[in-house]
């Protein structure tokens, strides 16, 4: 397993144990940056599709998503603490088990050796994203869960080079990601942290 993938798994896990929304956003940025590096290191930028993918991973996921969410949270004067999973031994054990299951899954599936570490990390990322989504009703945690989920899917796609990747599809995926971010940001701004709309102000 390459160093970048080892760091990726650490970046997946650490924000779950540190109850801070800023760390969660740094975690998302870290995942994006590491995926951008993995893509560039393996394929370089030889086609338009590669370029679009690098923009997706290196710009949108690494910078735009965390910064856009940070600005909403900062504007709301949110306190530093935010648990994306419940802060107890059961949740932490489940998180570690998810990583183990991801690695066992990759070990058992028929795969070329070069892909196995990618699939292990991606499967772990997917299970952790599901854990985050299932653990908290708070809107911020769910937004983080959604983007962790999107990153896990991107890592699965990264595990195998796609010789016929159409640039138009890559652009389409990028646009969908940006619109998802815009909507997530809007809901994060307009819903209470618990997921309800704010009560109408008394006149």
């Amino acid at each position: 397993m390459s160093t970048a993938l080892v760091v990726f798994v650490l970046v997946l896990l650490l924000p779950l144990f540190l109850a801070s929304w800023r760390v969660s956003l740094v975690g998302l940025a870290g995942q994006g940056a590491l995926m951008a590096w993995l893509a560039y290191d393996r394929d370089g930028v030889t086609t338009v599709a590669d370029g679009v993918r690098l923009v997706d991973l290196g710009l949108v996921r690494t910078l735009i998503v965390p910064v856009a969410l940070y600005r909403v949270m900062a504007a709301r004067n949110t306190g530093p603490r935010n648990d994306v999973i419940a802060p107890n031994l059961v949740s932490w054990t489940l998180a570690l088990t998810a990583v183990l299951v991801g690695f066992r899954f990759a070990a058992h599936m028929p795969l070329p050796d070069s892909e196995r570490p990618f699939v292990a990390a991606a499967a772990s990322a997917l299970l952790l994203a599901m854990l985050v989504l299932a653990s908290s009703e708070r809107v911020f945690s769910q937004v983080v869960g959604v983007f962790r989920f999107e990153n896990a899917l991107a890592l699965f796609e990264l595990s195998r080079p796609e010789p016929e990747a159409e640039p138009a599809f890559r652009v389409g995926l990028l646009v969908v990601l940006v619109v998802t971010l815009a909507l997530a940001r809007w809901y994060l701004r307009t819903l209470t942290p618990a997921g309800d709309a704010p009560a109408p102000e008394a006149s």
């Binding site: 989504l133 999107e150 899917l153 195998r160 809901y187 109408p200």
Partner: protein, 472 residues
């Protein structure tokens, strides 16, 4: 030029929409009318240009183009009528019209897409354009419902995309499988490929989430309840069937039902029916009741899809019938909500006297919902049940019958007093005009025809699609 590209024509109406313009809702009606004309010409005119890398006009596409576009016309005519009566309604806004046209075109692209990624992207666009339409400024709860709809859509479609990734993985030899549905449908199933099994299972789970199948159904009752009636009808009648097309295309791939996916469809279907029956018994909200009935229908359809073979024709009849039933019922409930300002069934009574057309459509729609003859839903359910009995799955058969009976009693007990009971709210209503109800009448005629007589061209479409799903 591929004639299917004419389905993009409604995009031209984007230029006539704008903030503050009076005819935004009418522009959406015009766009939907153009779309339904193109769809009908393609479907009934038997325009099959074959499949290219991106698009197809095969029988599946042609049949469901008819369904989603006719249902959509019904929805937008209802919305236009609301906007016409009250220009301050959200239905009159430019935002709704922009999103409506984007939704319509994307939904048509889902149906005619021959490329996995194109279909997936278009379905994602329908979710992204539907979510803001669920939100109603006057209903704070609708914002939370829209957010949860979005989260479930992202997760469901994400799992489906992972399923496609697994299908395309092609095992350990490093080969990529084709991403064209027509090629996949004619590629022999390899023996014992765990990636394919996993792919089909993830696709059933992911697309099942979008269809509202248990266990990932919790978004559906809340979303259908909180959204405006037109948007609820759009999700239930149009988006549901777009998602179903994708699932049908997956099940057209050889070996799809052989692994875990076939059994998963049976189990998820029966679980969905059971969950919905319990919820129908408990609810007192008419919109939620029809939402739970939608979960029930998704369950019946999943069971039929899991069986395949002889159940295929029945599933198609049932799915198409239910698109029209749900459109009729949700739009009728919209009228009820508009007049009585409530969705509580105990507060509404004597509909047939107060709002005769609405009462009539609610009555006939409920009969169709419960699977009475002569509607297509009756015949569809009968064919699925007979295929279930023939397959020897007697436990599922018994569970199916028990749940259907419970749903039948619970729905009738709640809805019929609304129609024939005593009026609870004493007021003088304006006499109802038939014009706003005409689209529902057209859908109702189609519903009856599906149970009694189908024109040869439409029946041929049904048979071709059923054959592609394994029917003889």
């Amino acid at each position: 030029m591929n004639p299917a590209l004419w389905l993009l024509a409604p995009l031209a109406f984007l230029v006539v929409i704008g903030p503050g313009r009076r005819h935004n809702a009418l522009a959406l009606v015009a766009a939907a009318t153009v779309e339904v004309i193109v769809a009908t010409v393609i479907a009934i005119g038997d325009v099959d240009t074959g499949a290219d890398d991106l698009l197809t006009t095969d029988a599946t596409a042609r049949l469901f183009l008819l369904v989603i576009d006719w249902a959509f016309v019904g929805v937008v005519v209802y919305a236009w009528n609301r906007a016409r009566v009250d220009a301050a309604r959200p239905e009159a806004s430019a935002r709704r019209a922009y999103l409506g046209i984007a939704f319509l075109v994307a939904m048509n692209v889902v149906v005619i897409a021959n490329h996995v990624l194109l279909a997936w992207l278009a379905l994602e666009v329908t979710s992204l354009t539907a979510a803001p339409q669920i939100t109603q400024a006057s209903l704070p709860g609708s914002r939370g419902a829209a957010w949860r709809y979005l989260v479930f859509s992202i997760v469901g479609l994400g799992l489906a995309s992972l399923g496609f990734w697994c299908l395309g993985h092609g095992g350990a030899d490093g080969a990529h499988a084709s991403m064209r549905f027509d090629v996949l449908a004619h590629t022999p199933a390899p023996a014992d490929d765990p990636w394919r099994d996993l792919g089909f299972a993830l696709l059933v789970l992911g697309l099942g989430t979008k269809l509202g199948l248990a266990p990932m159904y919790s978004w559906l009752p809340e979303t259908y309840d909180e959204a405006p009636a037109a948007i609820t009808a759009m999700l239930a009648a149009v988006q549901f069937n777009g998602t179903l097309v994708l699932l049908v295309r997956v099940l057209q791939i050889p070996g799809a039902r052989a692994g875990v996916a076939g059994d998963a469809l049976l189990v998820l279907g029966l679980a969905s029916m059971a969950v919905s029956a319990g919820s129908i018994l408990a609810t007192r909200n008419v919109k939620r009741l029809v939402a739970y009935a939608s979960i029930n229908h998704a369950g019946v359809i999943a069971i039929g899809l899991g069986l395949g073979g002889e159940a295929a024709y029945g599933v198609l009849l049932y799915a198409v019938s239910n698109a029209f039933i749900k459109a009729i019922l949700f739009l009728s409930i919209g009228h009820i909500e508009q007049h009585y300002q409530t969705k509580q069934m105990r507060d509404v009574g004597g509909l047939i006297k107060d709002l005769p057309y609405t009462g009539l459509f609610l009555m006939v729609g409920t009969f169709a919902l419960l699977g009475f003859p002569p509607f297509g839903s009756f015949l569809g359910e009968l064919l699925i049940l007979s295929a279930l009995a023939a397959s020897g799955q007697m436990l599922v058969f018994a569970g199916f019958c028990a749940v259907i009976a419970t749903t039948f009693i619970a729905t009738g007990r709640s809805v019929f007093p609304m129609i024939w009971g005593e009026s609870r709210i004493k007021a003088t209503w304006h006499r109802q005009r038939l014009l706003p109800h005409l689209p529902k009448l057209v859908l109702l005629i189609a519903l009856v025809m599906m149970g009694l007589y189908l024109p040869t061209s439409v029946n041929t479409l049904f048979r071709e699609v059923a054959a592609s799903m394994g029917s003889r």
